[in-house]
Each structure stands twice: as C-alpha cells, then as structure tokens.
Amino acid sequence: MPAVSKGDGMRGLAVFISDIRNCKSKEAEIKRINKELANIRSKFKGDKALDGYSKKKYVCKLLFIFLLGHDIDFGHMEAVNLLSSNKYTEKQIGYLFISVLVNSNSELIRLINNAIKNDLSSRNPTFMCLALHCIANVGSREMAEAFAGEIPRILVAGDTMDSVKQSAALCLLRLYKTSPDLVLMGEWTSRVVHLLNDQHMGVVTAAISLITCLSQKNPDEFKTCVSLAVSRLSRIVSSASTDLQDYTYYFVPAPWLSCKLLRLLQCYPPPEDGAVKGRLVECLETILNKAQEPPKSKKVQHSNAKNAILFEAIALIIHYDSEPNLLVRACNQLGQFLQHRETNLRYLALESMCTLASSEFSHEAVKTHIETVINALKTERDVSVRQRAADLLYAMCDRSNAKQIVAEMLSYLETADYSIREEMVLKVAILAEKYAVDYSWYVDTILNLIRIAGDYVSEEVWYRVIQIVINRDDVQGYAAKTVFEALQAPACHENMVKVGGYILGEFGNLIAGDPRSSPLVQFNLLHSKFHLCSVPTRALLLSAYIKFINLFPETKSTIQEVLRCDSQIRNSDVELQQRAVEYLKLSSIASTDVLATVLEEMPPFPERESSILAKLKKKKGPGAVSAGELEEGKREGGEVNGAERPGDNAAIAASNASTPSPSADLLGLRSAAPVSAAPVSAGSLLVDVFSEAGPAASTAGVNDDGFLSCSSALSSAPPSVVSEDPAPPLPESDELLNKFVCKNNGVLFENQLLQIGIKSEYRQNLGKLPNTLRNIVLLIFIALLNEILLNVQLKPVDPLVEGGAQVQQVINIECLSDFSDAPLLNIKFRYGGALQNLSLKLPVTINKFFQPTEMSSHDFFQRWKQLSQPQQEAQKIFKANHPMDTEVLKAKLLGLGTALLDNVDPNPENFVCAGVIQTKAQQIGCLLRLEPNAQAQMYRLTLRSSKDTVAKRLCELLSEQF
C-alpha cells in the first residue's frame, strides 16, 4: 500500500483534479475552473463559518488552480487563518499557500509574521520548521526585520533539535541574501563557524552553505573556518564508504558536504599554516587518486557523485594556482575526461579546462590536448558540447597554435549552429588580430570570415580590418589584391562589398598596374555590386568613387556619368542624393591639387583596444556590461569630435557634417578615437589638443586650403567640443596649477582612488610643422590606487584598470595664441559601480611655451626700452612666501622656461630673464626682472611683453611662486 493512504486525501480536491484532467479542451477547463472559483468564493463569503477541513480543502484547490497558471485574487485571508490552526495539516497547507502565492509586499505580511512568531516560540520542532520554511520561501525584508534577530539564537542554542538547526541555518542564509544589513552575526560568528564540527552531518551540510556565503562577504571574521573545513574534509575523504551510513551516496561518502567544503575553501587563499596546507594537499591528492580507482558501482549516480567532488577539487586547485604538480595532474585528469563516453563529463572537462588554460603552470599541459578538442568541435553531436570546445580552443590559443586554431574555427564556422555563429565570428576575429604575425594572414582570415559567415560579421569586425590595413602599409597592396579577387565572386556578402569599396578607394592604385585590375575594371567590379546593396553601403561606395577620381583621373568621366544619373542625383535617400551632388560638384570644380588634398589617404588610426574585444566582453554577460557601455560612450565621443578633427578625410568629413548619418561609411569618424578631453573654458580656445596620431594629423591641420575651411563651415559643430557635463573643477585646482608653473614633473593630484602624475616636455615638433611651432607633450601618469574603471577620453585605455596599475596618456598640446585659463582635464571612471567625475586644471600655463632667448646686456635694455608703453608692462610688489635662497630662485626661473641672463642687471642681486612665447599665431617676446629685497623680505617683479595680456598673466602666475 503506498504511503499516501496514511494521508488525509481531500476528496473534493481529488474530484476536482480528475475533472480538470478529463476536460477535452482548454475552454472546458476554463469553464470548470470558473465554476469552482465561484463555488469557493461563495463558500468563503457565506454566512456559515467554515470548519478547518473545508477551509484547507478550498485553499488547496485555489493553490492547484494557481499552479495551473491562472490568477488567484482571493483566499489569502483564509490561508492566513489556517496558519493559526492547531491541526498540523491545516497549518501546513496554509504555509504552502503563502509560500507559493504571497509575494513579499503583501499587506498580509504582518498577520503572517504574527503566526510565524507563535510557531517559532512554540518549541514544537515540526511547527518551528514550517515557520522557518515559510520565512525562507517568502524571504521579504519585513520578515528579515522581524526575525533576523531571533533566528541566529535558534541556530546556536544548545537545546535546539538538529532538524530545526538545519532549517534555521538556511533560513538565515536566505535572509542574509535579501537584507545583509539586518543579519548581524557579530557575537554568533565563532559559534556558527564551529557548526562545522557538529556531530550531525545534516547540520554541517546546511550550516556550511551559510558559512560559505558569510565568508565571501567577511573573509577575515570567518577565516578560522579554513582549518576546520580542512580537517572535516580530510576525515570524509579518508573514511570508508560505509562509515558515514546514510550520508554515503552510492558508495561515495558525503558528496554534498565534500563539495561544499571544497567550495568554502575557494573563498580563501591557500592556508598559511604548513600543517593545514599539507593536510589539504593530501586530501586533494587522494581525490585525484580515487579517480583512477575502479568504480565501486556501475550506477551513474556513483560516478556523478565521485566526479562532482573531483571537479570541485580541480576548481580549488585552479583557484590556488600555486601547486604546479597538482595543476598538471588536474589537467591530465580532465584530458582523460575529454574522451570519456559520458557526454556530461566531456562537457564539464572542456569547461573546466578553459579556466586551467589561463594558469601559467598548466597552459602548456592544456595545449597538448588540442587535437582532441578540435576533434570534439568537429564530431560532437551536442551543440552545447561543441560550444564548450570552441570556448576552450579560444582559451588555449597562443602564438604557437593560432594559425591552426583559427583555421579549424573557420572551417567549423561553415557548418556551425546558428546559435553560436556570432560569437564564433568575434572569437576568430580577435584571435586573428591578436596573434597575427604577418598581416596578410590576418586579412585573409577576416575576408574568409566575411565570405563564410557574412551575416554574423558585425560592424566592429570589418571596421577593425580596415583600421589595421590603413595603419600598416606593408599589407595594403596585398589587401587590395585580395579584396579585388574576393569581389570577383558572383554573389558576395555586403560586408565584403563594404570592405572592398573602402580598401580599393584607398589603395586601389597599388594594384592598378596589372591590366586585369586596371582602374576601370576595379570601378566596374565595384559598381556591379552597387544596386544590390543597402543605402549605407551605397553611400560608402559613392565615397570610394570620388576617391577613384583622385587616384585615377582617367575614370573621372565614367564616374561623373554615374554620379550624374537620376538614380543617384535624384535618389530619394537624402544621404545618397547629397553625396552624389557634392561629389559631382567637387570633381568638376576643384583643381587636381585641391582634390588631392581633400581626398588624401586616411591617416593612421590611433592604436586602441579592439572594439571587437569589448563587444565579446559585452556578449559574455552582465559583468562586462559596464566596459561595453564605456566603449559605446567612447565611440559616440569619437563621432562628435571626429567631425572637426582636421586629420580626417575631408570629403568624408564634409558629407558627414552635412548629414550626420550614423549608418554611413564614416569609418574614420566612428572609430577614430582622439577626443579632445581638455575642453577649454570660457570660449577662449587657445590650446589645440591633438591626438596621438600627431604628425599625420598635424600635417593635415596646417593645410589651410579652401576646402577644409569650407568643410568646417559646412559643419556647424562648435569650435571646441566640451565633453558632456564635466564636473566643475576642484576648488583647489588653481592651487594645484600654481605648483606646476615652474616645474614640469610631479604629482598633480592624489586621493584615495587615484594619483595623477604629470611629466611634461617640450618637443620640437616632429617633421612637418614649421619650426616656429612648439608642442608640449604632457605625459600623464594615472596611478590607480584601487581597482576602478577608467575612461580617459584621449586615448582609449583598457576599460578595466587593475588596482595599482598605471595608465599613461600622452597629450600633445599646441599653443594657438596666448591664453590665461588652463584647459580642464575631465576624468570619468567607475569605481564600485558609481561614476566618478573629476575635473582638474591641466598644468598648462602660457609660460610652458617659452623659448629661452640669450642676449647681451645692451640688447636687453634696448628691448626693454622698446616695450615702454604702459600697457606692455606689468609690475607687482609682493611679500616673499618662501625663504629667499638665490639658488632656489634661479632654479625656479629656469623652470619657468626663460633664459636667465647673467651680468645684465647692474645690481647683481637682481634677476633678469628673456624668452619668446611661441604660439601658432605669433611670437611674443617677454622680458622679466625680479628684484629681491632681503631686508624687507619683499620682491618687485616687472614684466614687459609685446602683448599686454601675456605680461599681466605671467605677472599673476609668478607672484605666487616666490
């Protein structure tokens, strides 16, 4: 006879369930349910008081209806009434209903809490367990408030029954997860830790879940649990399979407890105490040894339980990452599993090898399994196993095997499941880039990728290949040839057309010598794809065409013809129409020189983190999302600023400025990262912050020709782009600034999160800038004292910056004309989830652009007299702030950037200096005289300059220095 006969079968409930099961249609079922609901409602509302049994039966029916997927909006009160019944079954059904149906913010919670309170204090273990279960099931904040103080007491009380202890431990864990602030362990800590020593295995099993969670949050307070856990584990591992009676599961002693102990140990570093550590290593070795023993049972439960412990032990070994011997053994064990006939084990082995591959001790050992893994990728019947194999190949890839792995992944991609294609594409693209030794291989790989899985190739992937081709001139010819060949295919993917259009537009000339790929052949090939493409691709092709006109004047008439035809110049799409009109006009009115300048080859892109990597991180789960957001933000920033970046291809800039269309081919704009992060305050744009792409950008920058100015007129972009809502500069930033007037290196700013160091140096500009221009290179070192996410907008840095790491930003600054306000440096980063916004004044003052001028006494005074108009002089008499030490004064004046002239002033106590401030607009001569009066501890400072504002500003700056 089944055990159910002992129960109190509720007849009405069984009838109802049978009825529902006999319903032939959904409609019939709903009809039956509505009838029942009406019946129950009338019973509940009726005048006659219901007895406990009926109440229980109806509540149970409601529960059944709810579990069928229907809404229940009454009966809660009756269920709460059942809680205070003294009949166990009624109470039990009441609690069940509440556990399943009451959500945490119900207004009934106070009534429920009352009933729970009564049961908790009843000292009847069965009632107490019911109450604890209810708390754990609902787990609301109100319940935590009501019971978080009581439950620890129940847990550690000496007279509590074991079963109640178990419930109390897990109930407390549940409340701790909802409201950690309400569960205060304090005084209970050590008694809770000692539950690990409890006689009753069930109590240990339940308590260890609680201890693990608490240890993760407060590792120091709970660290005594390590040695207890090790000794408990050691006792279990060395026990015979029969020692633990009912806690042995299919001949495996206490598998759940063993796994939990190993999991708890993963919250801590390896034990420092030698004896404890020795014991633990012994346990781990025993577990690894047992895996080699013949199984004690053929049942899958036996091997599952045994291997669960083994995998958990391996996870601990990987976590410690300090025992090369164990790591290699773990790897070998997983290697065996890779070929196991159990699919589950193959899956888990692949998964855990992924983490093993990142350890330096076992990376090589993992690599020896490459053939097996590749084989798994090819032959596994189960897509989720294949997915793990692909993950592992990605993790074990390094320079030595990249070509093989990429080739295998590519060939797998041809038949891969749709669900994993996109991720595979990203992975192939990343590996190809990361381990590319010769870039022709890289180009081949990406083009193959587009050919095989074009639909899954996201924009980031093809942006990236273009960035790389543009930055490496050794691969450009090869790339042009390869895309040309790829475009020969009768049907090629639109992404291929995009890459082809872009690359031929830039570098088509490199293959034009071959008659098989002459300019016209190239153009016709591209144009044959034009009509099948979407608007953004067509827009890109139009830009490629105008570039062709520049590269190959002989194609001009053909291309003009195309641009002129109605389908272009009257295209209903405004972007296409505008491009056609503008390009046509440009090609017919501009001289070859102007055309050549405007359509110049794209400058190299700044090196930056691969956007693909960011995308993969984003795909990989919520943990990486913030990095992804940063990446997005960066790109948007790039777009805004790119529009006025002089180095950008002018034609493209022009079309972008007229119709900013994010879908257009504005590769340069979308991925160019230089962003002026030094917004200049109060409308005085005096410094031009260049990107790292310095020389190329500057070359284009000084091209002061008609078209460029025309394009910036087209763009209504404001002259300076202020990064969005920078925080107001710190109040002390002026003071910080003053520290740097006379020195170039030092720490600008420091707080508990980060330290910003500055190292600035003057550089005669490299290459093509005229000698009159002088750039300052500021190297900013940002040393992070804690782990934060940093988004410096100048040069994208790795979005996640480790604690203690240093990030270096190089800012090139060119002075356009004199200025008095320092540029702002706005640093935004994430720390502990909160966005931090820090604004500082960059220590760039006008004197940083001094070029020292040596001159004789005669010359000095002659110039001095020339600058005799009152506004050309600024004078200040001030008290000394520092001791008047001649050597220190000299050092400061030299730090100022001027030449310190000896034997000029008749009074040897006085200092005179001369220098020329180099700005782009003009050169400003400055003379300085500092007269110390040692007796009065005063200085008189006089400055004369050809520009009044400069004299005044320098005087202000310097008066703070002495």
Binding site: L170, P255, E312, D382
Partner: protein, 166 residues
C-alpha cells in the same frame, strides 16, 4: 544556490514549480516557457547541461517527466543532477513507484517533500532516512478522514497501470 526547480511533462505541462528567489509572475512564466522549449528540443543522449542567460541549467528526464533546475555560476552541475535524483528517490520512497499521476494528485505532498530536502535553494538534508522519517512523522500528525475515497480510488486504478518514473 539553486534558483528554481521545475517539473514538466513531455507535453510541456508544468507539474511543479519551485522558486528559491522571488520573481514577478511574468518573469516566472517567461522562464517556464524558455525552459520547456529548450529542454524538450534536446535530442536524446545529449548532455544534461545548458547555459541560459547567466545560469547553468541542469535537467534530467525520468520516464514522462522532466526535472529541470537553474543553478548559479559557481554551482556544481554533476551534484545538481544527483539532487534531482535524490528528490526522485524521495518521491519514490513516499509514493512507492512514483509516477506523474502521483505528483498531479498529491502536488502538495511533492512540495512538502521538497521542502524537507531543499531550502532557499540549498541542500538542507541529504540523508534519505532522516527525510523519510520527518515526513512520516508529519503524516502521523494528520488525522485520517473518510475511509472510502471514490475519486481517489479511481486515480489509484489509473495509477495501477502507471509507469513508475524511476
């Protein structure tokens, strides 16, 4: 920690749902739909593990019923399989050759047994003996009503030809 446990039939009918973290009803329904669709689509002899959002899904079929649970990142999949198995064993011990019908008609018992075994998504007790003992103890507290139970018997006769799920 286990986030949820679902029991559903091969036809996709949900037989038991247990949520160890409170979720809005809509979210629950979405998860149920996704799980049923994903698990039923699996071919035989594939592995018992899946990735879904940030959870590990472990499922196993026992006769006509699928047992399916969602685990957090750091949980052990193999052990979760044995959690499912132990639950089946407990049901089996209580009902005697448990079948889907037992769970349909005695759904409340299925919940009670689960509560003895798991709490807040963690293992509370692994010993089959202790759990059976406490369930028996609570059954002893129940008062016996109505010795003849016609519809229940008809369920029993249905169940007589039942196919045990173990």
């Amino acid at each position: 920690m286990m986030r949820f446990l679902l029991l559903f039939s091969r036809q996709g009918k949900l037989r038991l749902q247990k949520w160890f973290l409170p979720l809005p009803e809509r979210e629950k329904k979405k998860i149920i739909r996704d799980m049923v669709a994903m698990v039923l689509a699996r071919k035989p002899r594939t592995c018992n593990f899946l990735h879904w959002r940030d959870l590990k899904i472990v499922y196993k079929r026992y006769a006509s019923l699928y047992f399916c649970c969602g685990l957090e990142e750091q949980d052990n999949e193999l052990l979760a399989l044995e959690v499912l198995h132990r639950y089946v064993e407990l049901l089996d011990k209580y009902f005697g050759n448990v079948c889907e019908l037992d769970i349909i008609f005695n759904f409340e018992k299925a919940y009670f047994i689960l509560d003895e075994f798991l709490m807040g998504g963690e293992i509370q007790e692994t010993s089959k003996l202790s759990i059976s003992k406490s369930i028996e103890a609570s059954d002893m507290l129940q008062e016996v009503r109505g010795s003849v139970q016609a519809p229940y018997q008809s369920y029993q006769s249905q169940a007589a030809s039942k196919k045990a799920i173990t």
